[in-house]
């Protein structure tokens, strides 16, 4: 009898997850189109936050470069969308973001703390302004049109990206690399001295996290259908994952997911009623969380 109880304890969360994923996968069949579109947006935020947390969670290097990686995906979608089939476009979005992150990582990951944060923010802004300058002076357009894709297809693609991100995050956490990443966040100098190639590990993890952001950007662009540098590289795409991860808590895998889901729904509810004030509320939430709930929602549940 004990065996059954132990078995059910281990497989219960997994079973629940599978059920939940099945529910999500079949949504478009019976849910309103509005809900499908809303869920796609929620998936986007969850992917951004979860992939942000893959790197920034354990290493505690707060990256504000998410907008750069997301935007690269968006732009590639606009540029390649007419020439290549959708799966390739998304793969390219992820791949180019991966390479960009590797490059940025090897350059900047010598910086620590506040310097790293500001630098990543600077990189995002640099790319945004560079694209604006390039588009204005060389390609002669400021905005671009993106090949539209059926909303249901967008939903399914985002769902797949979400599952892939979740799987990657889970596997990394449990692996020896996940442990090494945490040690970098705890005492980077000591981690270096016990043989961990800190530079390589940081760069690769940063790149992996960027891959999913790029892929998400590539598919989301097809929903917006019109993009320009300010839309693609909107700084908010850098700030929101940080806010959502802090709110949800980075200590557990579900923290960023929960935080992103709740705040994404909240944004949707508030943006129509308080178009100008909803960001203020988010700012207040961030302050309250940092003051009273430093480990986010995860901390709240752990205490219970």
């Amino acid at each position: 009898m004990d065996g059954v109880r132990v078995l059910s304890k281990r497989f219960f969360p997994l079973g629940l997850l599978c059920l939940f994923l099945l529910l999500l996968a079949t949504m478009p069949l019976y849910a309103q189109p509005y809900l499908v579109i809303l869920l796609t947006t929620v998936f986007m935020y969850v992917v951004l936050t979860l992939s942000w947390a893959i790197f920034s969670g354990p290493t505690r290097y707060i990256s504000l470069a998410s907008a750069a990686f997301f935007g690269v995906g968006v732009y590639l979608s606009a540029i390649l969308g007419q020439a290549l089939p959708l799966p390739l476009v998304i793969a390219f979005g992820g791949l180019v973001s991966f390479i960009l992150a590797l490059f940025i990582g090897l350059l900047t990951l010598r910086l620590r703390g506040m310097y790293f944060i500001i630098f990543t923010f600077g990189v995002s802004e640099l790319i945004r302004h560079f694209m604006l300058w390039w588009e204005t002076n060389f390609t002669g357009t400021v905005g671009r049109f993106v090949v539209a894709v059926d909303q249901t297809a967008v939903y399914y693609v985002m769902l797949v990206i979400f599952v892939m991100t979740l799987l990657t995050a889970h596997l990394m956490r449990r692996s020896k690399f996940g442990l090494a990443l945490r040690s970098i966040g705890e005492q980077e100098e000591a981690a270096l001295h016990i043989g961990i190639n800190v530079t390589h590990l940081k760069a690769i993890t940063f790149a992996i996290s960027a891959f999913f952001m790029g892929a998400a950007g590539a598919i989301m662009a097809t929903r917006w259908t019109y993009i320009d540098p300010s839309i693609a590289f909107n700084p908010l795409s850098s700030f929101m994952p940080v806010l959502m991860a802090i709110f949800g808590g980075t200590g557990r895998l579900y923290g960023p997911i929960l935080g992103a889901a709740i705040l994404a729904f909240l944004e949707e509810v508030l943006i129509t009623k308080f178009t100008y004030y909803y960001m203020l509320l988010f700012g207040i939430i961030l302050i309250v969380v940092i003051l009273f709930l430093p480990n986010g929602l995860v901390g709240l549940f752990k205490r219970r």
Partner: protein, 239 residues
């Protein structure tokens, strides 16, 4: 066999020479002490050996191989481990995880998880921390934290262990235990180079002692020779 060799080791921070033209040899099986007043450059010398800082000039060789300019993770894999003056443990991770990380990443050859785990448990036993394996490292007493840092260093399978003021902040009973641990490490075949201020410990356990002052080596020899060296006495008592 000469394990570690330094020639003309020099480090400038801006215009200040923290370590200047220091030569040293550490032979296999020795316990060598490094003493000197505060600010003498002892920890800087360790930082230069371990790769934490690049040398301004000079060379360091380990087992005949030139290790000058290598990064700390590369030097660790070649067989040099160290502890830090201010303990740098992975505080929010368990005692076992701290050691486990060392055994996983500190060796040059691939090691699988279960072997690494077995080695880690053995090491916890060796330093006497078996009972607290599951506790977050930050919750240990200072003496135990220092032992954990030693265990973590040993997990990387070093041939040379650099101990930076391992006995600082310990009471006399803890100092005695630490000294005993140092001897047991040497008996395992690991060479030790240790910075210490606790004179009793250094004098009783070391084969040889080096003395630094203002970044320069001012004396070297057996504990007795160093204790009676006039320059050393002056530097410590400020005559």
């Amino acid at each position: 066999m000469r394990l570690l060799e330094g020639r003309g080791v020099t480090k400038y921070f801006g215009g200040l020479s923290a370590v200047f033209d220091v030569d040293f040899d550490i032979n296999e099986g020795e316990i060598v002490g490094l003493i000197g007043p505060n600010g003498a450059g002892k920890t800087t010398l360790f930082n230069l050996i371990s790769g934490a800082h690049p040398l301004t000039s000079g060379t360091t060789r380990f087992k005949g191989e030139n290790i000058t300019g290598l990064r700390p993770n590369q030097i660790c894999k070649r067989g040099i481990a160290r502890t830090f003056q201010l303990v740098k443990l992975f505080g929010n991770m368990t005692v076992l995880e701290n050691v486990y990380l060392g055994s996983l990443f500190g060796v040059s050859r691939k090691i699988n998880g279960s072997d690494a785990m077995r080695l880690s448990l053995e090491l916890l036993e060796f330093v006497g921390l078996s009972a607290v394996g599951a506790i977050p490292a930050k919750e240990l007493t200072l003496a135990n934290q220092k032992r954990l840092e030693v265990a973590r260093g040993l997990a990387t399978r070093p041939e040379l262990l650099l101990l930076d003021e391992m006995m600082a902040g310990l009471n006399p009973a803890e100092v005695a235990q630490a000294m005993e641990l140092v001897t047991r490490i040497r008996d395992k075949g690991i060479t030790i180079f240790m910075i210490e201020h606790v004179m009793k410990a250094i004098m009783s356990v070391c084969n040889r002692i080096m003395v630094l002052d203002h970044g320069v080596k001012i004396a070297e020899g057996t504990p007795n020779e160093v204790a009676t060296n006039r320059k050393v006495v002056e530097v410590y008592l400020g005559e």
